[in-house]
């Protein structure tokens, strides 16, 4: 359960290979980068959880507008603070890897975009999503009319049962027809 020393055992490695989409080199690299985040005394503790602030110093996540959501989605912490263990980190990299299936990626993308964690993407979620994409400051946002027009267009294209929100199946259906998704939903260390 988790890593205790700075070395990764061979059987742990093969188990991780079995359970994730990562290759051996990627797992070892992830281990190396993860242990760099630990302080000296934390290194000897088993199954330690790195707080979110330290995870967000990784260059791959630092400038990502969805970094906090990503940490929250993959975190198994009971306190919902977004801290990640090494296995959570591997889950994260596995979902974002090259060889992950479309279903896994769309599943986790849905959870990342679901800002209020209610299981559907409603207008509030979509608005927060668009603001994340365009920028947080006032002059980089769309005007309210443009936002309304945009959200109407999105719902028109993706809301199949016309209930005003996008649920997981509808989201996965839209993503399966989106040609850019697989290549853009990728994080490689």
């Amino acid at each position: 359960m988790g890593t205790t020393a700075s070395q990764l055992g061979k059987d742990m490695l093969s188990e991780y290979q079995e359970l994730t989409f990562l290759t051996k080199q990627e797992i070892l690299l992830a281990h190396k980068r993860f242990t760099e985040l630990l302080t000296k005394d934390e290194k000897d503790l088993p199954n330690n959880r790195v707080p979110m602030e330290r995870i967000l110093t990784l260059p791959e996540l630092k400038s990502n507008p969805f970094r906090k959501r990503i940490c929250n989605v993959f975190s198994t912490s009971e306190y919902k603070d977004g801290g990640l263990t090494f296995e959570d980190f591997l889950d994260l990299l596995s979902a974002f890897s090259d060889s992950a299936t479309l279903e896994i990626k769309s599943h986790y993308a849905f959870r990342i975009f679901d800002f209020d964690d209610d299981g559907t993407l409603d207008c509030g979620d979509l608005e927060k999503l668009v603001n994340c994409l365009t920028g947080e400051t006032d002059d980089t946002r769309l005007t309210p009319e443009e936002m309304r027009q945009l959200i109407n267009n999105i719902l028109e294209e993706s809301d199949i049962d016309k209930d005003g929100t996008v649920n997981l199946s509808e989201f996965q259906h839209v993503i399966s027809r989106s040609p850019d998704f697989v290549s853009s939903f990728k994080i490689v260390l």
Binding site: L90, F96, G119, D161, D163, T165, L168, S183, S184
Partner: protein
């Protein structure tokens, strides 16, 4: 109590809460499991979850319907890592599966373990192949800095390097290698030059006497002089048949077949590579690349790590969204146009298109004249000035490059007046530029051929002008070689002498001119057109100059680094983003157009123009194509009749008819599927409405019974994943709860 009755009361008569919706079969089929913090829901969710996966000992319960058993077997088949769960849960599932496996028969165990091992092997092979890929590190860096749009350009470049390398390997192994190794394996090369005939006179073009150094440079750059009699050009391959110890190698046949093979191979590889993009584009009737969902849900490149790039990407996304929203409004405006306005617009478009055609004709005519002038100058024996010499040799290339530089600017200026929608404007301008670039090569070849087959006023003695062009294929090969070299020089020169100073000026000088210029943008379409142009030249020229693919491989290899350096240092990404998927599709479509345009000249010259009698492998045949019918006539009788039958009209017509029938059938099938999809969509909407209606009614009923039975507690909402019910209604659904503990352990 059955699980599907609606109202439950527990033993004290109170109704406890449990979202009815989460027990619906449609929810069960979703493998998403929400981690909940309350113990009650955890127990419920864990029992639900174990329904989805394999539960040893717990799944012989009456709560499991046959449908869930089917789901269990479906999830059984999928590898563990494809399930969206945390590592701990996956590990638990894995151990459960392994335990289960031990209970199965040994045959099944073997089957499972072989499947696992095969999967592991396949992953290892994929990983090894991936590590062999060229430029992995560089492309990763570019991806991190600029996103996937620009990345697609560089991976396209890498694809072309590999393609050219393989074409060269084909040419080398089937055409050059036999001639090279023939002396060492005591092969006998026969070559039947008809020495008496006038057509077979081939004056040597090597320079005699003391050769000045700059003449070597001229020769190197123009492919003449000492380069003419090397493996570089067609004329050096003087071999008809090579007799090895126990077989004869027919070199002309090999030469022709390799030409057809490399064109065919390029076609297959490009189509295979673009298969995904084609499929999507053909199946969907709307323009999916521009859809809003694609932009919003797949809009962010998660691989970008550079702070600057993030800012740029955000602003480009904002710009793109605003433009698309505006385009929608424009579409509305276009639909509202009056008749008079429409006539006016069509008239303007007609005039401008005629103007464009006029410009194109002008460019083509100037290329034609430049080629003829250049050929005449090369024929003149007196060669005085080194620089003038070189300029005259390169005159067609210079004119083509100038035309290809001016016309895009002209087209993008004109398109503003034609009042199309922005997306269509871009595509139309691009198509015009593509047409211009690729047809200019065709015009060059056409003007060359008109020179080659013109013999004053009478018909040519040998089918071509043997006085001026004793070995005309070598001459064409030289022109293609010059185009390639010049193309490379231009790319290099523009990067060093135009972009670099521009960057310096913009950085250090603060004048208005610098502000107006701005920093160089990495315009993907123009860059792609450049390299497709080079690749088209390579495809055409490989028949006349078998070593041209090797030269092109090295050229693209260096272009990668030049463009990478230019991108990192001089350029900023374009404000109008180029989506990765549509980029890939666009690149491959343009490449296919280039391939089609390359096949035309090659097939025309192979089939129609008499091959030169003084050099090359086809001296004994009238045209290059003739070697195939000759070989077929020497084949055994059975194969000969078969081949004749395949090429007869009866076969062709019936094949055509059968293909048409299949096509009509497939189109009808696609239409039927589309209708079914529409019907299902409407049905879904109706079902959704039904569900909401029923839930509303149940809610009302529950409210009434809640009033009648006081003391019912309200529970926090759990998420439901298929309707927005929980958002639309403020109460949670107090309709049913899971059977008490005892019934799960029946």
């Amino acid at each position: 109590m059955e699980v599907d009755s609606v109202f439950y009361t527990d033993h004290s008569g109170r109704i406890s809460s449990n979202p009815l919706l989460d027990q619906l079969p449609s929810y069960q089929s979703l493998l998403y499991r929400r981690k909940s913090s309350t113990a009650g829901t955890k127990r419920r969710s864990s029992s639900r979850g174990r329904i989805g996966s394999s539960g040893s000992g717990k799944w012989g319960v009456g709560t499991i319907s046959r449908r869930e058993e089917k789901q269990k077997s479906q999830t059984e088949e999928r590898p563990i890592r494809e399930l969206p769960r945390t590592m701990a849960e996956k590990r638990r599932d894995n151990t459960q599966r392994l335990e289960e496996d031990r209970e199965l028969s040994s045959l099944k165990q073997l089957e499972h373990s072989t499947r696992r091992h095969l999967r592991r092997l396949r992953d290892d092979v994929h990983q090894w192949l991936g590590s062999l890929k060229l430029w992995r590190g560089d492309i990763h860096v570019i991806e991190g800095m600029f996103g996937t749009g620009i990345l697609s350009y560089f991976s396209f470049l890498r694809f072309l390097v590999m393609l050219n390398l393989i074409i060269f390997v084909l040419m080398f192994s089937f055409v050059m290698l036999p001639i090279i190794i023939a002396p060492s394996v005591s092969g006998n090369i026969t070559y039947n030059l008809n020495l008496g005939s006038e057509c077979s006179a081939y004056p040597s073009s090597t320079r005699r006497g003391l050769v000045i150094f700059h003449q070597h440079i001229t020769d190197l750059l123009s492919g003449g002089g000492f380069l003419e009699q090397t493996y570089l050009f067609y004329g050096y391959y003087r071999a008809d048949k090579i007799h090895f110890s126990n077989s004869t190698y027919n070199l002309p046949l090999a030469y022709l077949l390799v030409t057809i093979a490399y064109l065919f191979f390029s076609l297959i590889w490009i189509v295979k590579r673009s298969a995904a993009g084609f499929k999507r584009n053909l199946v969907q009737d709307e323009d999916r690349f521009q859809s809003f969902c694609n932009k919003i849900f797949a809009g962010w490149d998660f691989c970008i790590t550079n702070e600057n790039a993030v800012r740029l990407k955000r602003s480009s996304l904002l710009y793109e969204l605003r433009t698309d929203l505006e385009e929608e409004r424009i579409k509305q405006k276009i639909a509202d146009r009056t008749r008079k306005e429409r006539c006016r617009i069509y008239l303007i478009r007609l005039i401008l298109n005629l103007f464009v055609i006029g410009v194109l004709m002008g460019c083509f005519y100037s290329i034609y004249r430049a080629t003829i002038f250049s050929q005449e100058v090369q024929m003149a024996t007196k060669k005085d000035n080194f620089i003038m010499d070189l300029i005259c040799e390169y005159l067609p290339s210079i004119v083509i490059t100038l035309a290809n530089f001016i016309t895009p600017l002209l087209f993008s200026a004109i398109i503003n007046y034609e009042d199309y929608s922005p997306a269509f404007e871009i595509r139309f301008t691009l198509m015009r530029c593509v047409f211009m670039r690729l047809t200019s090569i065709g015009v060059l070849l056409f003007s060359l051929w008109s020179q080659i087959t013109k013999c004053g006023n009478e018909p040519c003695l040998c089918g071509y002008n043997h006085v001026l062009y004793p070995c005309w294929e070598t001459r064409i090969g030289q022109e293609m070689y010059k185009l390639t070299i010049f193309d490379f020089i231009i790319i290099f020169a523009v990067t060093v002498f135009v972009e670099f100073p521009r960057k310096l000026i913009v950085q250090h000088c603060d004048c208005g001119l610098a502000k107006w210029f701005g920093q160089q943008e990495f315009a993907i379409p123009q860059n792609v057109l450049e390299i497709v142009y080079g690749q088209t030249i390579c495809w055409i020229g490989t028949f006349y100059s078998p070593m041209l693919p090797a030269i092109c491989t090295m050229k693209y290899f260096f272009i990668f680094y030049i463009k990478k350096v230019s991108l990192m240092n001089n350029c900023r990404p374009a404000t109008r983003p180029f989506r990765a998927s549509s980029s890939n599709f666009f690149f491959l479509v343009v490449l296919l157009i280039g391939l089609a345009l390359a096949c035309l000249p090659v097939s025309f010259s192979v089939a129609q123009i008499n091959s030169s009698q003084a050099c090359g492998p086809f001296v004994n045949y009238t045209t290059s194509w003739e070697v195939l019918p000759n070989t077929v006539s020497e084949l055994p009788h059975g194969i000969k009749t078969l081949l004749f039958a395949l090429s007869s009209e009866a076969f062709a017509v019936s094949f055509f008819v059968v293909t048409c029938l299949i096509m009509f059938y497939v189109i009808a099938l696609a239409g039927a599927h589309k209708r079914v999809i529409n019907q299902l969509r409407e049905q879904l909407v109706v079902e959704g409405r039904d569900k909401r209606f029923l839930i509303q009614k149940l809610c009302q009923a529950q409210r009434l019974s809640a009033i009648k039975s006081p003391g019912s507690k309200s529970q926090p909402r759990s998420p439901s994943y298929h309707t927005s019910f929980s958002n639309n209604f403020n109460e949670s659904v107090f309709l049913a709860h899971s059977p008490p503990d005892s019934s799960t352990h029946v």
